[in-house]
Symmetry: C2
Subunit: 154 residues, 2 copies
């Protein structure tokens, strides 16, 4: 009986390996919202994952929402990142440059290796979709905290 079960399982595994690829739909509300870790974010941030990287499509998608005052730590993307601001108004800054305001509908391209942060403004929330590529399996290199002085500088 045990052997028969093993044979059936092996056949099913074999079939699944040869299965035709098919569209998959992840329905709204089926993935839990994740709180942004205090290791990488200042303030209240939450992440709604949309899709994971795949072999033929090595980039992830997620909505990230920053409450007023919240922002990422300084960081670098080894393969770059596209951000599409989907609601609210936020700030982003490259190391050594002034911070810049971004609003719903704006699209940001951050090339590989550029040290930067992004987040809400001090008074308004901001949500963006982040589409982030992988290089050698890595999408981000986290650096130091964005201090209040850096965040509030004009």
């Amino acid at each position: 009986m045990k052997t028969l079960l093993h044979v059936i399982l092996l056949v099913l595994c074999g079939l699944s390996l040869y299965a035709e690829p098919t569209q998959t739909i992840t329905h709204a509300g089926s993935e839990p919202t994740i709180k942004g870790s205090a290791e990488y974010f200042v303030g209240d941030v939450h992440v709604d994952y949309l899709f994971k990287p795949k072999e033929s499509a090595p980039y992830s998608g997620a909505y990230v929402t920053f409450e007023p005052g919240a922002r990422s730590f300084w960081h670098v993307h080894p393969s770059g990142q596209h951000l599409v601001v989907t609601s609210g108004t936020g700030w982003t800054q490259e190391w050594g440059k002034p911070k810049v305001e971004v609003k719903a509908g704006d699209v940001i391209w951050c090339p590989p290796g550029v040290k930067h942060w992004h987040g809400a403004t001090a008074t308004t929330s901001m949500t963006h979709m982040a589409i982030t590529g992988l290089l050698d399996g890595k999408s981000v290199q986290w650096l130091e905290k964005v201090t209040d002085e850096q965040y509030n500088a004009q």
Copy 2:
């Protein structure tokens, strides 16, 4: 004088090649909305391009809006495609399978080589963000029209 101009141009080109990479922001409203071509779409479709593929990030992003009854032709993505439905309710169908309803917040992964279409329902509009990879510079192979019979089938 002409030679001096050439030298200046060459120096500027050289500098631009060695320029530090920097974040770029495309502000909302700066790119024109494009009407979906009748070669690839049935009905009223418009496309708002978000970002183009880059060497380190070989995938494009665009919002695509389908008015009621509108849909793509049958097609295949050589490198797959992620769709994030951002508003409304639509339909998608794989060749040989029943059509499926998708709603705002749903995420669709279409693996490479899967023949399919997507669009609005007969009575409601639908907008999705499409994130589409490239294989050998190609993001889509367009096939035949989705007939009214196919579109309206249960």
